[in-house]
Structure formats: structure tokens, C-alpha cells
Point group: C2
Chain length 647, copies 2
């Protein structure tokens, strides 16, 4: 049985994910808030702090906690380094502060407190042993507390702010309680939270129509991507593509001669996951792409798709990594009654799973060694959770800079679990959240509920797999709106181009699939083409760079506005220095207006103090000095305002 003298209990610590099984996530430089319910019997004064350290630090640090309401305490500290932190909460009955609290009330009641003063000497003696900064003052008090001639001085000092401060800064922590779990926090580099992705097929990079694009062609596209303001280029798989059961254009079952196949059907005689499709170029060419992109402030994200075409070398080298049918063939992918004979899924229940895991970790480490620090993982929800948990932890031990984006468009709890076990970012349902209520509900779930601590959303208006119903019939205005919201609701966002910015929205009838999809064929694009959307993409990416408030997601607050077609939201940087108001017309056809409520209270603006609202797109400036302000947005001009607020 534990010490019966310990009176404080700590419960309901937050963040605490699955009882501390999974780490909360932050990026370097962020504030980390920890809260807890702290209770004790009776009415004594309590005190508490967060106890934390980086995994490599030798000593604990402490951050003070304060009581907010209803026995809830909270405090914050800044995370400075990548890697794991551990944190917990320590709380105690603060006997010196309780003594001071009580004597103050008695003095105010004009009671004679000579016995209470005498009682206080023990606390003065204790605090002397904890700090040698106030010895003289404390010695003086000890004398005064027992000398009736200095009674008035004694009672003044007994309840003084100075003594309170000494007690508060030097807690005795007698009989303190430490919460029974050390909780994990994982800190990533900043890109985990603020990144701007552009996806394209390198094979569509050729200058001449009809040619297969190469990495050399890609070098000429990097300036476009840089001009557009992106900092991550994500390529679909760049590995040799299977020939057995290869798919033809528009997902036809049998490829015709010259059909290039699906990049996700990985592996053929020329190699597998560590090899490069010869048509794209050599390993040296790819290294050059990584290098030139890096010089332009752009990282290359690789696709990590753990599946094999029937001609992948693994099939012969590691037959036990596949499931074999009684007829001696390998089990191809299926979702009965549908068959996907061009794909062999990995048999993760293999008895040889340990070697298999090592090999797959080896793939990521191989590319990481060549400079790849971001992996977009294809369909992680079709491989075991435990595998990803182990792989991500192992890779991050080698290079903590490595980030993993989970491409799991699946059930909510599966997406959440993938984030809990280590994925740095996740694709989201944003692609299908269209109206105001849906958008607010979804953003609230992501940023105000438990997910805020472990799931970093990455918003995409489209992907090669998703030509959303809404965009299929959309006009340019809608593309402009959906892009702007992705880029300002979420600090991580991406788009798949040039199909998006060139508004190439032809679809397979009845499906959310692109017609003539680049998944099945080489396309040709005019990479020099500019339009309203390309200009706005570049502009918004520039605004995101200049405004810290847009580099976070959880800092969003939706604003009241009396029009269901207008969405308004406010974001502020943690230091309070950068405040932004976004107002967007969701209706791509009609001018909409309404009165928007600005959270002046949150910014500490009172009365009718003016705010200068500068539209970062147009450069126009307005003075607002009220809480409610009228806005009107014409979708055929710019369907939104992105205001910076100065006051």
C-alpha cells in the first residue's frame, strides 16, 4: 500500500492517447499544453507542474500549471528538439501557500495570529533550504514572527506578494503525487505541420506530345513548381512496371502494345521497389532531380506502395511472402467478386514476416540514403497496423526527419489508428466536404477533438484516384474556391496537377475517376500555361509563407456570418502576432454577401478600436472598427478574402 500521507490525486491527463500507448505530436517550436484534473480532500491550496524532458536529456524540466475551472489545471511548454519527449504531471498540497491563504483570511478578520505566525516558521525554514536567494529576508521574518514588537511587520509580510512568490517558486512538494504514467510526445520537424504538395506524373513531363517523360524533363518543370510556391513534389511510383496482366488506357483489362501500365503495379524483370523505371531515366537522373529540387527549396516525396506485379523479383526470391493457392499460383488481389490479377498483395501473415519487415524497412532506408525524407504511403490500411508502427519507428531512429503521409481514404477509426501509430500526416475527407455545415463539422472534429493531438490533416481537392463529383461539374470559380479552402483551412495541403489548375475535369461516366487518367497512360501538358487559378495558387502559397497563422491547422475558429453560402474563419499564430481572417463564397455562381463577426475579443481588441483589414490577394485595405462587418463576394472576381489584420 502506498504512502497514506499522499492526498492529491491526478486524473484525466490530456493529451493521453490510448492510456499513453501512443504519442501526441507536435513540431519544433510549438507550444505543448498539458491539462489534468487535480483533486485533494478538503480545502487546502494545491499546486502542480508539468514534469517533462527530451528523451536525450538527463534532467527533468518543470512548467507551472494553473487552475482554470472545475478542478482542471493546465500548463504549457515549448518543444525545442525533434524526437521523443516524456511528460507527466506532479501535484501536491502546498502547505506553505495554504498557511499563507489561511493567515491572510484571519488577519483580514482582525483575528490575533501570533500562534499562526509561529506555525509559519516551519515553512520559512523549509524554503530556506530550497533557495539561498532570500536568506536574509527569511531570517528577518523568522525573528519577526516570534517577536510581539514586530507584529505589524510580521502580519504585513506574512500575507505579502513577495513571500507568496518565494513559496510559489520554491515548492516543497511534500507528499507530492506524480501521475502514474510517463506519457510520450513526438516532435517532428516543421514540415510535418506546414507543407505544400504538388503531385504530378513524371512520365507526363515530356516536352513533345507522344513521348514518355523523363527525370531530365522534370528538371525543366521544377521552376514552374517553385514559381507556384510548392515545397514538396510527390511522384507516383517511379519503379519498373509489371507487364503481366498490365492494364491499358482507361483501365481496360488488356494493354495494347505501347501501353505504359499503372505505376502502382510495381516490379518486373528490370527490378522492384529499389529500382527505377528505365523510361524515366537512371538513378543518377533521379538523384539530380532530388538535388535540383532541393536547391529550389523543394523536397521529393516518394510513393511507398507495398504490392507487387506478378513479375516483381520478390515473387521468385521470396515465395513465402505471397499467398499461394492450391493450384500452385499466387493469390492475386481481389475484392470478391472483383479480381485484380495485375497485383499480388503481400501476405503479411507469412511465417517469414521478420525478414519481410526488414526488407521493407530497407526499401525506405535505401531511398532515404539518397535524400528522400518524405514517403506518401499507398493504402496503408491494407497492411497490418503493427507493421507500420514498427517500420515508422525504425526509420525515424535512423533519420528523424523522415515523414510519412498516409493515403488511407477509409473508415474514420482506421484513419485515426494509422495516425496514432506514427503516420506524420493523413489524407482526409476534405475532398468530399462541400457545404458550410459539413466543412465546419469536419474541421471541428479534426482540430478541437482528440484527433488534434495526433492526426495532422493534409487537404487535397483532388488526387489521381479522385475526380470528385462536385468538381466534375464545376466551373473555374469552384476550382478556385476548393483550392483556397484546402490551402487555408489546413496548413498541410496538396493538389494533383496540371489536371487541377488546367481544369481538366473530364470523368469516367458514373465514377469519381478521371477520363484518360494518367494512371493508365502518358499525358502531355503545356507547362507554360497560366490562368486565373495558377496565379491564385502562386499567390496563396506566397501568403502561406508570409503568414505564420496559416502554418497551423488547429488554430482555426469559425466566425458567425448570416449567410449559409459564406464560410468565414479566423486563424492566429501562437505568439498572437499574426491574425488572419478568411471569408469565402461557397457559391461558384452567385454573388453573396453577409455580416461577419470578427473575434475581436480573442485579439484583445475592445471598444471600437480600428482594425486594418488588408486583403492579401488584391492588396486592398479596409478599416473595420466593429465586431460585425459587411462583406460581399463575387465568384467571378475573386470568391474570397484573405485578410491580414493589423491593430
Amino acid at each position: 500500500m502506498k504512502s497514506g500521507q499522499r492526498r492529491v490525486v491526478i486524473e484525466n491527463v490530456s493529451p493521453e492517447i490510448n492510456c499513453g500507448q501512443h504519442a501526441a505530436k507536435r513540431v519544433v517550436g510549438q507550444q505543448f499544453e498539458v491539462s489534468a484534473d487535480i483533486l485533494a480532500d478538503g480545502h487546502d491550496v494545491l499546486n502542480a507542474h508539468i514534469k517533462y524532458k527530451h528523451e536525450k536529456a538527463r534532467t527533468w524540466k518543470y512548467a507551472p500549471m494553473k487552475l482554470s475551472d472545475n478542478d482542471r489545471w493546465s500548463g504549457t511548454f515549448e518543444v525545442e528538439k525533434q524526437g521523443y519527449y516524456e511528460y507527466t504531471v506532479e501535484a501536491w498540497v502546498d502547505y506553505p501557500l495554504t498557511w499563507q491563504h489561511n493567515i491572510e483570511r484571519k488577519i483580514d478578520d482582525n483575528q490575533h495570529v501570533n500562534i499562526e505566525l509561529e506555525d509559519g516558521i516551519q515553512y520559512l525554514e523549509e524554503v530556506k533550504t530550497l533557495s539561498n536567494q532570500h536568506t536574509e529576508y527569511l531570517d528577518g521574518l523568522i525573528k519577526a514572527f516570534t517577536n510581539s514588537k514586530s507584529y505589524n511587520y510580521a502580519i504585513d509580510e506574512a500575507r505579502s506578494e513577495k513571500l507568496h512568490d518565494i513559496f510559489w517558486k520554491n515548492p516543497t512538494k511534500k507528499f507530492s503525487t506524480v501521475y502514474d504514467k510517463l506519457l510520450p510526445l513526438y516532435v517532428d520537424r516543421e514540415k510535418a505541420l506546414y507543407s505544400t504538395w504538388y503531385e504530378f506524373f513524371p512520365r507526363s513531363a515530356a516536352k513533345k506530345e507522344g513521348e514518355h517523360g523523363t527525370f531530365k524533363d522534370v528538371l525543366d518543370i521544377i521552376p514552374y513548381v517553385k514559381k507556384q510556391g510548392f515545397d514538396v513534389i510527390y511522384f507516383p511510383p517511379i519503379h519498373p512496371i509489371g507487364t503481366a496482366h498490365r492494364k491499358g488506357k482507361n483501365n481496360t483489362t488488356n494493354a495494347l502494345p505501347g501501353d505504359v501500365g499503372v505505376p502502382w503495379a510495381i516490379g518486373n524483370k528490370e527490378g522492384g521497389h529499389k529500382d527505377i523505371l528505365p523510361e524515366l531515366g537512371s538513378l543518377e537522373d533521379f538523384k539530380e532531380v532530388i538535388k535540383v529540387a532541393g536547391e529550389n527549396g523543394i523536397e521529393i516525396a516518394m510513393d511507398f506502395a507495398l504490392q507487387c506485379s506478378p513479375d516483381h523479383p520478390y515473387v521468385k526470391e521470396h515465395p513465402s511472402w505471397f499467398k499461394w493457392r492450391p493450384n500452385g499460383t499466387v493469390q492475386y488481389a481481389e475484392n470478391p467478386p472483383k479480381k485484380y490479377q495485375d497485383i499480388y498483395p503481400i501476405y503479411f501473415e507469412s511465417d517469414d514476416w521478420e525478414n519481410m519487415w526488414d526488407e521493407f524497412i530497407g526499401i525506405t532506408l535505401y531511398w532515404n540514403e539518397l535524400g528522400i525524407k518524405i514517403f506518401r504511403v499507398d493504402n496503408p490500411h491494407t497492411k497490418p497496423f503493427g507493421f507500420w508502427e514498427y517500420l515508422i519507428a525504425e526509420v525515424k531512429k535512423t533519420d528523424p526527419d523522415v515523414l510519412f503521409l498516409s493515403e488511407a481514404f477509409t473508415k474514420p477509426k482506421t484513419m485515426q489508428r494509422l495516425a496514432k501509430i506514427g503516420f506524420s500526416q493523413g489524407y482526409t475527407y476534405y475532398t468530399w466536404r462541400n457545404n458550410k455545415a459539413e466543412l465546419i463539422e469536419y474541421m471541428t472534429e479534426l482540430t478541437k477533438g482528440p484527433m488534434k493531438d495526433y492526426f495532422r490533416p493534409n487537404f487535397w481537392p483532388n488526387t489521381p484516384d479522385i475526380n470528385p463529383w462536385m468538381l466534375q461539374g464545376g466551373n473555374e470559380n469552384l476550382y478556385i474556391i476548393r483550392h483556397m479552402m484546402a490551402a487555408t483551412l489546413s496548413s498541410n495541403f496538396g493538389m494533383y496537377g496540371p489536371v487541377y489548375e488546367q481544369i481538366d475535369n473530364a470523368a469516367v461516366v458514373g465514377k469519381e475517376e478521371y477520363l484518360n487518367s494518367e494512371k493508365y497512360e502518358v499525358r502531355h501538358w503545356d507547362w507554360t500555361k497560366t490562368n486565373k487559378l495558377t496565379q491564385l495558387v502562386a499567390k496563396i502559397n506566397q501568403i502561406r509563407k508570409e503568414h505564420k497563422a496559416l502554418q497551423f491547422t488547429n488554430n482555426i475558429d469559425f466566425c458567425q456570418i448570416d449567410n449559409e453560402q459564406i464560410l468565414a474563419y479566423f486563424k492566429q499564430s501562437e505568439d498572437g502576432k499574426d491574425s488572419m481572417l478568411m471569408v469565402v463564397n461557397l457559391d461558384p455562381y452567385n454573388r453573396q454577401g453577409g455580416w461577419v463577426q470578427v473575434p475581436r475579443h480573442k485579439m484583445g481588441i475592445s471598444g471600437n478600436q480600428p482594425m486594418r483589414m488588408t486583403d492579401q490577394i488584391t492588396g486592398n485595405s479596409y478599416i473595420w472598427n466593429q465586431e460585425w462587418n459587411f462583406v460581399e463576394l463575387d465568384p467571378y472576381q475573386v470568391p474570397y478574402h484573405i485578410f491580414s489584420i493589423d491593430y
Copy 2:
């Protein structure tokens, strides 16, 4: 690293209180539902069960779980014995069922499945090793699955309900995952959930005005309490009362000669917590009270108030159990600037805490040995949580029948914590929940949120410490209403009488205190007096006995009714056999009417099937055959209906 072949993850198990630190609570005979999120990669068929056992059982039992929605699974089992149960969740990819699911879809698609049939033989072989009930059938299938002549038979049986049932009942549980915590459940006797309390001061039991009541007098009151239908009599402390700083009538600071003092100022020369106030009688007299009460189906609940008067024997015997001031006196109770010099609180930080705890446990065991199985604990929130957790566990090891009611009218999280650490029941805020919205909100918090699993409310319209504002000005109708709601909203309820049923509501001006409170003086009552309220109390207690639906609290559902002055609620027994509808007019002055919606859907009543509504108070019967029905209640007649529903 764990087995990589395990693909299922289990999380968010419920109930799980503070990560399994505290036990969920049920009473013997209740159903216990366990839920969990169960996930795996891919689309295979999953399966799960609850794994549980009583602490004294040697082998595990299993209860099947079913998928409800959004990856949430749940199952139930019935708890049969008092004491601790352990439970957890086990889940697995069900390979045989996955095989059956897939082959069924292929057969429906007219695919030829001879390879799939061959593949299925392994599952037939496996299930043969788990059950010998179907050997012949399974052997036949194994032959048929490889014989092209019996193909039609094979595909019929492959997707048969019979084979599904064999697989489902004999899971291989290959690579199964067991949730990483064994969770505790504590099962009490039924009285923990369904009890009917009557509190009175035995010293007010004398037949002659001006005399001090005795236990012998109490014997004559037991028939009244029985007639009124109560099954617990709770006495304020019956121990010797301190004389130092004794309080006089109406809480005056200095007692006059003849003043009897406050029963909660425990201890004087004549003894302490194990002794009896001589004016009440002898230990033998008290034992007689316990015996006679028992013969009448009534248990005696003792007050357990851990504090001492200055003349309690502990002060001399165990000076270290009190806090001493620098002037050599004991620290009396205070809430600065207020002083309570008649009470010495226990100093729980004493270095001698282990002996102290043993002594206090000894007090409860002493009375328990004499037949006391219920303790109403006075102000538990002013003593350490850890102390109660240990004491309750120790006492229940000796006698699992012992129940503890927490008298903690304090902050919500403190009340919750006391329930978590073991208190069987708790007083509540019911006393101050008056209007419809407040009542519904509070009942919802108690019965639909996390508290439902560990906090058993006990509703009291009044106590000796609380003469609620609302009742102070209330007429008889209001007393009738407040009593009825206490007794039908909560399966545990109590009242402090005869002050309540005789509507003696004189108050100390400006306080929720009774004037001429029995806390400070002997009162005299006419125990033969009957009135409308006493008749209704007896009637409702009889209805509670006859209707299982009223013996539970969490089974409440509020019904829509288009009048803010009428509260309507439905309760049903777990077996569905007893359905009750309560409709109460909250307005004690005016007749109120409205249309109430009966949850016919919940009872499985469709169309316009009639329900016979029998008012259990008046015996009147009505036929309702619609969802919405009109009611009207005159507070000067009976302000409520308590309907049983037959259909």
C-alpha cells in the same frame, strides 16, 4: 517486437475507468455490456468475444460480441456473484468466415470455385479439431470439396448457414489479439442499486414530549417505517457527544445546561466511535434495534463520521492523530476566518497513519460484526481518497455485503472520484435540481455518460443539513412532487423525516437550514400522524417493490411532452417485461396538461396496437393506442401518474 502476424487491434474498450484503475459496478443479476473498437487492415471478416471470469473462478468464460456500427463491437454477460470480475476483449481475423464470405460472393457471381473449395479444406480440418460434434458432416464436405461430381452439393454447403454456424461457434482464433488490459468489475448485492432510506434522529423517538428518545422507543417506530415501505433506517451518529465547546439549540456557540449537543461531535469521557450514547441505551438495546429492524426487512445504516470532539478518547490515546499548534493545543476545524472549536479533524498526514487506518477500519468491522452492513459516510471528501479506497476494499474483503453511501455534497469531480474508489452510492445534486431542463440534464449526466458505470445516485429531497430553498416556501403539493421524483427517477432514494412528511419546513432565515434543527436539540413527533404525503410515500414504496423497472436508474428515457411544466419518463426492466411511464406536474399550484410521446418503438409496439395504462396510484386504467397521448394533472389531486404499461 510482438508477433507480426497479429493483425487485429482493439481500442476504446468501455467500460474502462481511468485506464482500468477503477472497477465498473453492477449488482447481482444485472447484464454487463462491454464495447470496443475493433480494427484490422483490409476487408477480412473479424470476430470477437468478451473474455471474463469471477475472481474466484478458475476458467474463463466467453460472451460473443457483435459489430454494431463504425467498427464498434459489443456484447453482454450476466453477473451472477458478488465480488470482482475481470474482463477483457479478444478479437481475431476469422479466416474460415472470411473464406466463406469470399466464396459466397464468387458463387453468386457464377465463378467456378473449385480452387476456392480446395482452399477451404484447411478450415474444415481445423474446425474438426475444435469440435467433434460435426465430424461426419465435415468429413463429407472434405470429400465433396475435391470431387467435381459433387460440385453442386459442395457449393451449396460451402455457403450454408450450417457451416457458418459451425465456424462461428468454434473459432480458431488464429493470431488473435487480446486487449492489453484485464479490466475490473465489482458486483454488489442488489441493495446497492435499489434501496429505500428513511433517516431520523433516535433521540427524537420518545413518546413523551421533553424526553430523550431511546433505542427502546425506536422499536416502536420500526412498524411505522415498515408500513411506509422503507428498507433502510439511517441514524445520525449514536455515539457519546462531546461536551467541550458543545453547541446549543439552533447552532448557538455555547450550550445551556440540558442541551444535548450535535451527534457529529463524537466522543467524550464515555467513549468514542465504538461506543453508544448512554441516553440512547445500551449496546444490547442497539442490537435489539438491529434485530427487530431485520425481522421487518429493514437494515440499520450507521453514520461513519471521522472526526472527534475535544474530549474524544483518541485525543489522549493517539495525540499524533491530531495536528498540534505551536501553543500546545490541538488544531480545531476551521474554514478561515470561521472556527469550529467543537470539532477536531483527524490529521491524516500523521506519521502514524498506518495504525490510524487500522483503527478506523476496526471501527467499521466492529459494527459490521454486530450486524451493520451499511455505512453512510459523513463528508468523505474531507479525508484522503487513498484512505477510503483502502478502507472500503479491506472491509469488503471481510464482508462483501457492506455498502458505503458517500455524503459528499461537493464539487462534481470529487464526487465522481469517491464513487470510482469504491463508494457504493453517493448523494447527489437532485436536492437542487428543480426545473425540467435541469432535471433532464442531470439525469442524463448520471445515466448516459461515464458516471453510469461507477456512480450510483441516491436521491434525497432533504437532509438534516439541507432544507432546500425551494421546499422552504413550498406547499404540500411540492413535497409530494419532490418525493415522487426522488423515488422514481432514482432506484436509490431516501428522505429525512418526520420533518419531511409532516412538512415542517421552518428555516433559519437566509440559510438552507431547518429552524429548531434536530442536529442541536431533541424534537418530539407524533409518529401516528398520517396525511396525504405519508399515504403516497407508502404507496410509491409499494409500487417500487412490485415493479422491477423502478429498481434501476440507468434505464431511464425522457419522453417528449409539449409542456415545460410536465416531466415524463419511461423505464423498462432489463428483461423487457416491466414497462413504466411516469408523468409529473412540476407546477405545485396549477393544473397542467400536454401531449406525451410514449416510446412505443422501444417496447416493440407497432401500428395502433393498444397499450393498457394503469395508474398505480389510483388504479384507474386507460387504453392508449397512439404514440402521442393527452395527460392533465391537477397538483391538488395527485400531481403525477405512475403508469404500468401492458400490451
